[in-house]
C-alpha cells in the first residue's frame, strides 16, 4: 500500500471531525493500543490541509468523536495534541506535544487542561 508522505511516526491517517458549528474539519491521527490496555491517541494539527476548525479549539469535542469511533472507554483514552514543525522562522510554528486531560460527564469530554510534553516523553508513552 502506498504511504502518504505527510504521514510520520505520530500520524498514520487523516481523521475527519466536526468543528465549530459542524464545520467539516480534518486532523492527523495515530491510535496506539498500549501494553497497559489503554489507547493513546495523537491528534495532529495539519494547518492548511485542515479546512475547518483547529484541533485546539475543539479538542474536547474531537476527543469525544475519536473516543466514540475507537470504542475505547473514557478512562482508557490518553489524548495527545501534536502541532508539527512548519519550518517557519517564527517560533510559534515549531513542533509541540501536549497531553490533554478532560472531565467526562457520561456523554462527552469537556474542560480540557493541557500539559506540555517533550518528544521523548511522547515516544516513551507510545511504547508503554
Amino acid at each position: 500500500m502506498e504511504t502518504n508522505p505527510a504521514f510520520n511516526k505520530y500520524m498514520d491517517r487523516y481523521y475527519d471531525y466536526l468543528g465549530h458549528w459542524d464545520s467539516p474539519s480534518k486532523c492527523g491521527l495515530k491510535l496506539i493500543k498500549r501494553q497497559d490496555g489503554k489507547t493513546l491517541a495523537i491528534a495532529t494539527e495539519i494547518y492548511r490541509q485542515n479546512p475547518g476548525t483547529a484541533v485546539t479549539e475543539v479538542v474536547d469535542s474531537l476527543a469525544t468523536q475519536i473516543l466514540k469511533t475507537s470504542g475505547e472507554a473514557p478512562g482508557g483514552l490518553i489524548f495527545i495534541e501534536h502541532t508539527p514543525d512548519l519550518g517557519s522562522k517564527l517560533t510559534f510554528y515549531g513542533e509541540s506535544f501536549d497531553r490533554v486531560e478532560f472531565e467526562w460527564n457520561g456523554e462527552k469530554f469537556s474542560s480540557p487542561v493541557w500539559t506540555r510534553l517533550t518528544k521523548e516523553q511522547v515516544d516513551r508513552m507510545m511504547e508503554e
Binding site: 465549530h20 458549528w21 492548511r48 475547518g52 483547529a54 485546539t56 517564527l90 510559534f92 510554528y93 501536549d98
Partner: protein, 423 residues
C-alpha cells in the same frame, strides 16, 4: 419593511489619533438585502443611536471584538421593546456562542445570496436561531458592488477632507498567521473576485481614495497583476495590505495608484529593510505594523526593533500588543498554557495586555508599547507624518487630474461634530 442596521461604537485607543472610516461590513451586507426593504443605518461611532420601536427588524453588524459588548447591550434594549435582533459580521462569528445569548438570530458566514431567505423567514415569524454558512462561501460572482448609499457620507470628513472608502477585491487567505482569525472566518483558500466585477464596483465609487481591505493582495501573482492593470485607467489612489515583492507587480501597483501599504515588520532583518526600500523605490509609502509581546521578543528585542524602524525610514508606524482573539493560533497557544488572564472583550483593543507575556510582566509590556509610540513619533508627530502622506497623494491627484478640493461647507466639522483638537 424597515430594517434598522447598526454598527456599534467602540472605545478608541488612548492617545491615538482618532479618525473614523466608513465601515465596510454593513455596506457589503446591505448590498445583499432584498431591494424592497428599507435600510436605516446608524454608525454609532459618528452619530447617536436612538433606540425606538420604529423598525421591523434590527440588525447589528460587528467587526471588532471591542464592539461585541456594546452590540449585546443594544440588542438587549431592542429586545426589551419586543423587537427581533439579528447579528452578523466578523466579530459575531468570533463570538457566536456568547452573541446568541443576546440575539434572536445570528448569521455566520458571507451573506451574498442568503438574505432573501432570512427576511422571508422573518416575515413568516420563523427566524432561525442560527444561519450557518461558515463552511459554504458564496459564488464570488454574486459579490456585487457594496451598497454605500446607506452611509451618511458627510459624517466621514475631517475639516472638509474626506476619509478613504473601504473596498475589497478578494476574500480568504492561504496563510495561518499567528494573530489572525481569517482562516476561521474566510476559509483557508484565497478567493479573488472576478476582475470585471471589481472594476464595475470601483467605477461606481465617487471617492478617489480607497483602502483595499483584503488580507493580502500577494496571494496570486497573475490575478494581482490583472487587477492592477485593470485599475490603472480608473486613477484611484489606494492603501492596502501587503503587495507582492516582485518588481513587475510593484510597478503595476504603482501605476494603478498604490499610495501606501501596511507592511508587518516582525524583525530587524535585511529582508525587511529591503522590502521597505523596494516599496519606496516604486513611490509607494509604507506604514509599518508592529506587533509587540510575541514569545520570541525580549525587552531588548523590542527596543532594537524600534531603533530599526527609525533607521529604515518608515512613513508611519502602528504599534499593537498581541491580542489573542478567539479562533487564532495565538488564542489557542495561550489558552493551552493558561496565560490569558483577562476575558473582558472591551480590553481586546490591541493596546491593553490581556495575557502573560513570556519574557516580561504585562505592566512592562504596556510600558514598552507606549515607549514604542513615543519614540517613533518623537521627532515628527503622527499627525505631521500623516499630513506628509496626504500631501503626497494630493500631488499625484493634481498630476493626473483627479484632485477634489476639500469641502468648505464641512471645514468646521470633524466626523459630524464641531472641530476640536482631537485630530
Amino acid at each position: 419593511m424597515k430594517f434598522k442596521l447598526i454598527y456599534p461604537r467602540w472605545e478608541k485607543l488612548e492617545g491615538q489619533t482618532i479618525f473614523y472610516l466608513p465601515p465596510h461590513g454593513p455596506v457589503v451586507m446591505a448590498a445583499a438585502v432584498p431591494e424592497d426593504i428599507e435600510i436605516d443605518f446608524t454608525d454609532e461611532n459618528v452619530e447617536d443611536l436612538v433606540i425606538d420601536d420604529s423598525a421591523d427588524l434590527v440588525g447589528i453588524s460587528m467587526m471588532l471584538t471591542t464592539q461585541v459588548k456594546r452590540g449585546w447591550e443594544i440588542a438587549d434594549q431592542y429586545r426589551a421593546l419586543g423587537k427581533k435582533v439579528i447579528f452578523g459580521g466578523i466579530s459575531t462569528m468570533l463570538h457566536a456562542e456568547e452573541t446568541m445569548l443576546h440575539a434572536d438570530s445570528v448569521f455566520l458566514g458571507e451573506v451574498e445570496g442568503r438574505l432573501e431567505q432570512v427576511f422571508a423567514d422573518f416575515r413568516k415569524n420563523d427566524l432561525k436561531k442560527i444561519y450557518n454558512y461558515l463552511s459554504k462561501p458564496p459564488d464570488m460572482n454574486l459579490i456585487g458592488p457594496a451598497n454605500r448609499n446607506i452611509l451618511k457620507k458627510d459624517l466621514y470628513y475631517h475639516k472638509g477632507f474626506r476619509m478613504v472608502d473601504l473596498f475589497h477585491a478578494s476574500r480568504g487567505c492561504i496563510y495561518d498567521c499567528y494573530p489572525c482569525a481569517v482562516r476561521y472566518l474566510g476559509g483557508r483558500g484565497f478567493r479573488p473576485r472576478p476582475i470585471d466585477r471589481v472594476v464595475e464596483e470601483l467605477s461606481q465609487m465617487d471617492n478617489n481614495r480607497l483602502f483595499i481591505v483584503d488580507n493580502s493582495l500577494a496571494l496570486d501573482t497573475e490575478w494581482e497583476k490583472e487587477l492592477f492593470k485593470a485599475m490603472i485607467p480608473l486613477k484611484k489612489k489606494w492603501v492596502s495590505h501587503t503587495i507582492e515583492d516582485k518588481n513587475e507587480v510593484l510597478d503595476l501597483a504603482a501605476q494603478a495608484g498604490a499610495w501606501y501599504v501596511y507592511q508587518a515588520v516582525f524583525d530587524t532583518s535585511d529582508y525587511i529593510r529591503n522590502r521597505i526600500k523596494q516599496y519606496h523605490d516604486y513611490g509607494i509609502a509604507v506604514e509599518g505594523t508592529i506587533l509587540l509581546g510575541l514569545d520570541n521578543q525580549t525587552e531588548d528585542d523590542i527596543k532594537r526593533l524600534i531603533d530599526f524602524l527609525l533607521e529604515i525610514d518608515l512613513d508611519l508606524a502602528e504599534f499593537t500588543v498581541l491580542a489573542p482573539f478567539p479562533h487564532t493560533k495565538a488564542y489557542s497557544d495561550l489558552l493551552k498554557q493558561n496565560r490569558i488572564f483577562d476575558k473582558d472583550w472591551n480590553h481586546y483593543n490591541a493596546g491593553k495586555v490581556v495575557y502573560q507575556p513570556k519574557h516580561m510582566s504585562p505592566e512592562r509590556l504596556t510600558e514598552l508599547y507606549h515607549y514604542a509610540w513615543d519614540t517613533f513619533y518623537k521627532d515628527e508627530p503622527q499627525t505631521m507624518k500623516m499630513f506628509n502622506l496626504i500631501n503626497r497623494v494630493m500631488s499625484k491627484e493634481l498630476a493626473d487630474g483627479t484632485y477634489t478640493a476639500r469641502r468648505r461647507d464641512l471645514a468646521d466639522l470633524s466626523f459630524g461634530k464641531k472641530v476640536t483638537d482631537t485630530v
